[in-house]
Amino acid sequence: MKLLGKYVDKGMQGNVTLVPEEPEDMWHAYNLIAEGDSVRSTTIRKVQNETATGSSTSSRVRTTLTIAVESIDFDTQACVLRLKGRNIEENQYVKMGAYHTLDLELNRKFELRKPEWDTIALERIDMACDPTQSADVAAVVMQEGLAHVCLITASMTLVRSKIEVSIPRKRKGNVQQHEKGLAKFYEQVMQSILRHVNFDVVKCVLIASPGFVRDQFYDYMFQQAVKMDYKVLLENKSRFMLVHASSGFKHSLKEVLQDPAVIAKMSDTKALGEVKALETFYMMLQCEPTKAFYGKKHVLRAAEAQAIETLLISDNLFR
């Protein structure tokens, strides 16, 4: 994200102009923009013109609009942010109060005005604009017959593809089918890595699985890479890292990120800190159940009693 201008006065009122550069920036934008804010950006609008004779023509016009945001819609996997609201600045095409849906686009600036900026929002801008924090890691969590290829960015995890293949079990005198099914599965996972992992950005690829699936896959992949001459894989062999995970399901990614070897190699992603905080919470719930509480009602009660030391809050609720 690029910060073009920031005018926030003492009353914490003001506006900020930003340019999202990566899909992940959309996530930051999503967290910044709240209902009631106003956003100004260029957009395309279908405009209907009525001529004197009564016939109407419609045309698509690119124009700059300012809307008061009423609803926010974010697709986490595709990183598309949609803002719906009323127009608050009349221009030649669009009347005051007309509804419009803004699609925020990459590399197009937008101006965000908030009635009141809080420290968290300002911090988020700083964080989003810090180029050193954009560390990309790809991870493949797999088990026999199931694999998830994910991209882990500083603040979010994107599942790029899910591979599900049923592999015949070993049975008496019928090992070939099992091995053939396995090879087919590995081939699919490898193709998916080739397709979804951009080695220019990705610093490290984690391959996590229970048992020996990861080793087997690693061997298979580089055998194939040599055979089929996949230069990308061969050049980046050093970036692959094998880690243990208990299963091939998505949430075992949590275990992968807790692995000390991974922590050492990865720059501090946000997920890491959060996982740690959650762990302390669970530990406390186990050891001193009277000190840890969760759920809206309980937390509100605790807040009333001013008894909260650390408050964990989900992004969703916070918004």
């Binding site: 088990q143 017959g145 599900e164 049923s166 015949p168 079990r169 070993k170 049975r171 008496k172 005198g173 019928n174 090992v175 089918q177 099992h178 091995e179 099914g181 229970p210 048992g211 020996f212 087997q216 208990s246 299963s247 399901f249 998505k250 949430h251 075992s252 275990e255 762990e279 669970y282 530990m283 719930l285 186990q286 159940p289 509480f293 969760y294 759920g295 309980h298």
Partner: protein, 671 residues
């Protein structure tokens, strides 16, 4: 129904005969629930001709309920009663009657609780003129009748008591079907109640079927099956096919990694003559080449290259031996921690278990410590319903056949197994050596062992396992453990039949999508068969369904009585040693049969006292170690699951997180 009949030429005297009986519930005519309404002929709604109405409603998709042996009975009743209560409006009465009624309802409620719908109570009370004694009698009688019927339906195929026979075979006579609440709520068999008129079995809803329309009544199931499949007498077939054969038993071999499970089984197979001399020689040569000669017996079951190269079992190996009285299917489970999912899928198919422990000093201890697989496996198989366990103290040769060592291990295991829930009489201890083959199929030869041991050898122990009862006469259920391309057309699935029976050309439903498929051929151990029964390990060639629509772990079932499909269900869990307490929203991996599915604990309903089953606390905040609770689980994809009370095998679940089993559960309610 009286108003549906042609009034022209009606004998009014006849009509008035029944007038007094019907009087009490004439009110019902005015408050038919909307769901029922649409199936009623009503002239005022513009359905002017009866025949047009019948034509229009001919293809009504009936709910999958079957009056004669309905395993979803209770659920349906519950659903229905809920529908009743929701749509029920209090009849309009004058004040005194209203007061009487409400006090009456309260009185009845205090006795029967919430199990009976309000509508029923009100109606019954009106019928008996608010006489509490009579009302209670009526309602409670009915409840017991229902239960009776539940029991009866389980065995109704065996049951040839005259009473049952009259019902199952009674020709529906064209009696007038009076639309009275009594019949409406009292469904199925009404054998015990003398008041019940000899009316044909009505389905739960009030579809105005004509008396002679027999075919219409049998279309209760959604999916049609061939007449042959629908009317088969499974029990008879079973006796005919199986009475002459040896009984079958499935045995899983469990234990810590490197305890010698595969070697033991391999040696047993070799000694019983199930592995040819030639093959054994080949294994010997090849393993020698790799410098792992001790693995030669294990290679009988570890067939994949990976397993041989690494020297550990990864997936469940299957084999079969015949003893004097039994055919035993051996399931060789992997011992490594990472392959417990495979072991669970194997254990769900097993009737009995063989726990192999390493007697070597240090090895036993490491396997038995917290986190060792000896412990986890034993607990797992116990919670998966295995209650007979043979403990094999293996590798006793490495400690010089020491009696002290044997007794020490037995002592330690005994107390642990008792804790895990095994009965002492169902556990046996056998010393042996898998590699040398001592005490496997012949009594002890080694002088070191002979000196103090004169008990049975391993094969004897297996021989003495009791064969569990097979639920052959229940509706067909089978869980898929493997899918592969067979020879010829189509593809094969394999698995164990949990309940019921399957014949060639049967129609079955596959998985949560309920796709219909046909059984093209059946085989047990590569021998083609025409029928297979509960407890058999079979492979089936299916037609009419795509291979990609079947996944490992899905359930194949009888089209007439399909398995419930759900994403949310309640179960009673026992929490094992957990590091992190279970809270709401806790993500877990759900193991059900061979299925592994991510799930979320979405509600902690109550924590329960472990032994008494009393509710200790409603809506607990979290579940700690060794607690017992009622929780609700939600999966992202729909899964097939049964209640534990209906099908024990299909009502058990395991919850695992990060490679550790955190809880075992039984399904109590399905949403």
């Amino acid at each position: 129904m009286s108003r549906h009949r042609i009034v022209r030429g009606m004998d009014y005297n006849d009509e008035y005969d029944g007038y007094d009986d019907v009087y009490g519930h004439s009110v019902d005519d005015d408050c038919v629930s909307p769901t029922d309404q649409q199936w009623l002929f009503d002239r005022t709604r513009g359905q002017h001709s009866m025949s047009a109405f019948i034509n229009k409603n001919k293809n009504i998709q009936e709910e999958a309920e079957d009056n004669e042996d309905d395993d979803d009975e209770e659920d349906e009743v519950y659903q229905k009663s809920r529908r009743d209560s929701e749509n029920f409006q209090m009849p309009e009465l004058d004040d005194t009657a209203q007061a009487k009624l409400s006090s009456c309802v309260d009185e009845v409620r205090s006795v029967v609780g919430d199990a009976v719908s309000e509508r029923r109570i009100v109606e019954t009370s009106m019928r008996f003129d608010y006489d509490i004694q009579k009302i209670l009698d009526e309602i409670l009688n009915e409840e017991t009748n229902k239960k009776d019927k539940g029991k009866r339906s389980e065995k109704f195929k065996l049951n040839t008591t005259p009473a049952a026979k009259t019902v199952t075979t009674s020709k529906p006579t064209p009696t007038k079907i009076t639309l009275s609440t009594v019949k409406e709520t009292r469904r199925g068999f009404d054998i015990a109640s003398p008041k019940a008129p000899a009316s044909p079995n009505l389905s739960g809803r009030n579809t105005p079927t004509e008396g002679g329309d027999e075919a219409g009544r049998n279309t209760n199931a959604i999916f049609k099956v061939s007449k042959d499949q629908a009317q088969r007498n499974i029990q008879q077939l079973y006796e005919q096919e199986r009475s002459s054969q040896k009984s079958q038993i499935h045995m899983i071999v469990i234990g810590h990694v490197d305890a010698g499970k595969s070697t033991l089984m391999g040696h047993l197979l070799y000694d019983t003559g199930n592995v040819s001399q030639r093959l054994m020689h080949k294994h010997e040569q090849e393993s020698k080449k790799l410098g792992k000669q001790s693995f030669m017996y294990a290679w009988v079951l570890d067939e994949t290259g990976e397993e041989r190269a690494r020297g550990i079992t990864m997936d469940v190996g299957q084999s079969r031996i015949e003893t004097k009285t039994k055919i035993v299917t051996l399931l060789d489970a992997p011992g490594h921690k990472d392959f417990i999912p495979n072991m669970i899928s194997g254990a769900t198919q097993a009737d009995v278990a063989l726990l192999v422990v390493d007697a070597t000093r240090g090895e036993f201890e490491s396997g038995f410590e917290l986190g060792g697989q000896t412990r986890e496996h034993a607990i797992l198989v116990r919670s998966l319903g295995v209650n007979q366990l043979g403990v094999v103290i293996n590798k006793l040769d490495t400690v010089g056949w020491s009696k002290e060592r044997f007794l020490e291990i037995v002592h330690k295991l005994k107390s642990f197994l008792k804790q895990a829930g095994f009965k002492e009489s169902d556990v046996s201890f056998t010393p042996c050596s898998g590699l040398t083959g001592e005490n496997l199929t012949k009594t002890a030869q080694e002088p070191g062992l002979k000196a103090w041991y004169d008990g049975p050898h391993l094969l004897d122990v297996i021989e003495h396992f009791k064969v569990p009862e097979r639920a052959v006469d229940r509706p067909f259920r089978m869980s898929v453990t493997d899918i592969y391309k067979g020879t010829g057309s189509g593809f094969c699935i394999s698995g164990r039949i949990e309940t019921g029976a399957l014949c060639v050309n049967d129609k079955v439903l596959v998985g949560a999508s309920r796709e219909q498929a046909q059984v093209k051929s059946l085989s047990i151990d590569d021998l083609t068969q025409t029928s297979a029964f509960a407890g058999d390990q079979i492979s089936v060639t299916l037609g009419g369904v795509d291979m990609s629509n079947i996944t490992v772990g899905c359930i194949i079932c009888d089209p007439q009585m399909p398995i419930p499909v759900t994403t949310r269900f309640q179960c009673r869990i026992i929490v094992f040693n957990v590091k992190v307490p279970i809270t709401m929203g806790y993500p877990v991996l759900l193991h059900h049969q061979s299925l592994i599915e991510p799930a979320v604990v979405c509600k902690l309903t109550a924590s329960i006292h472990k032994s008494t089953g009393e509710v200790v606390k409603k809506k607990p905040r979290c579940l700690g170690q060794n607690s017992c609770a009622l929780v609700e689980l939600e999966t992202s994809r729909a899964i097939c699951i049964e209640r534990y009370s209906d099908y024990k095998e299909l009502g058990r679940v395991m919850l695992r997180v990060a490679g550790v089993t955190i809880a075992a559960g039984m399904v109590t309610k399905i949403r």
